[in-house]
Amino acid sequence: MVRILLRFSENIVEKPITSQIILELRVPINIITAHVDSKGGEVLAEVPDESLVKVVKAFRERGATVSIPKLIEIDSEKCISCGACLTLCPVEAITMDEDASVVFNQEKCLGSTCSACVDACPSRAIKSVKQNNSELTANKAH
């Protein structure tokens, strides 16, 4: 799965764009977070790798802005398992296991759209990194 950040302007926010694309392309789009009001919307969604290009294209054709947020990665060499990042994560993607090691669940992480943990890491082990190669493909899909 690849995470994409969708922005809908005031002019198009009323339209059921996401539903239309799901129905039309028959692609499961998983909404992770959404902030929508009459002035516009910002939605973080997850799409299957193989459908990324056509999904991005479909959103852009309908006037939405699509960007691919970076992923958060924890460098296990640098991480000292202090746990300073734990309480800053709004979705509990970082936890501590029985032997007091910090465990990171990237599936749950909101990526660079959140980044609340990054500046809390004393050993600077947390970084925003580019998602896999699909980013390059998706950016070509204008």
């Binding site: 202090c82 746990g83 300073a84 501590m96 007091a100 500046d119 809390a120 004393p122 050993s123």
Partner: protein, 471 residues
Amino acid sequence: MKRLVESSGVEVAFREVDVVTTGTFGAMCSSGAIINVGHSDPPIKIENAWINDVPISHPGAAVDLYIGATAMSERQPFEYGGGHVIEDLVSGKEVELKATSYGTDCYPRAHVKTRLTKDDLNQFYLLNFRNCYQRYNCAVNGRDETIYTYMGKLLPRLRNATFSGAGELNPLMNDPDYETIGIGTRIFLGGAQGYVIGEGTQHDPQNRFGTIMVRGDATKMSPEFLRGASFTRYGTTLYVGLGIPIPILNEGLAKKTAIRDEEIFTSVVDYGVPRKDRPKLAQVSYKELKSGKITVGDKRIRVSSLSSLKTARKIAGTLKSWIAQGEFFLTAPVERLPVDSVFKPMRQTEETPFVANVMQEAVTCSESEAVQAIAERIVTRSVNHIVVVDGNGKLTGIVTSWDITRALAQGKTALADIVTRRVITAKLNEPLETASKRMAQHNISALPVIDNEKKVLGIVTAEDVSKLLGR
């Protein structure tokens, strides 16, 4: 030991256990290393020195230097500092030394620049004047904004909490009367063997905030137990791994080393209050702290550690295996740590001004008043700020003379159209300096002073501040 005392009692535990090992791995800012870099030719009496752009102190004669963990790089402040320099040297990395001097007849050189590794140094000793706090505060932030402290990133309105320390694994907690710890106690320090050289600065045994001063040969240490660290907007520091073996000399020590996290309490402290004595909001045990959630009033707050329990356990384990393999020998202290010393605050001979010292009566208006009436009040009372309050005197907004001028220019007559709702405020017992800083930060010229219930007590203006602080 803890389990054995619980299952078989103190007597059995005393007979069966010889030594209890302990460990802690946390940020210890009062750490550093003394190095001797040798003489250059021609020689230099170093006056100012930098390693990898981090300013280094020159406490002694010509070429003795002290790398303080919190000294920050001039090029990358807050990201790289003395703690990182020590870690790099310990790791065997090459670092760049730059030094300047005024030049003397015996030390003619004025500049030197070279690259060094730990093998080029004559001495490289970790020399930490305060380490290994027995326990520490749990930090929260009662303010409306996120703050960055030496206790990490604290979210507004008590939305998270942080703590430090290993609790029941902490060295001093296992020997709280310092029966076995003092000058000359051999310890685990940074992955090698080191020594306690006395009580640490700010040692406060009567409040169970004991500390120790330590020394160890850094050339033998490991970066796994000595890590440079960065606390955003606070600065750099050094994580230090430290473990002390406690010989079980009597039943009393068997009992003391059986201490559990649920018996060790600390205070939840509001770091949002910029004072020396910050309000204590609750008492919590290390058991609660390690569970990930604490209770303050009717609030459940997520709490996380800043020190590494995982590494603390590893230190206690390593120390145990060293002793078992005959690689580490316990020592009796030459002199025990003091148990009755007091940690005094600074004697201040000049008064520090607080908001209360310059606060004036606030000129207020109600939500229902017209712009015209407010404009008249600005003129008659000759002020620039009108604080908007509700029927109970609680803050709901602020209007400035500039807002009024703009309203007239744009033909607006309703207060609701021009009022600022997100008001930056001050507290009565806040130091004037932090209030003044907040005005500058938000580019505003006054702060309404409110109490905890948002009731308006007065107003402090930039003009009054500059009169008092003289800037």
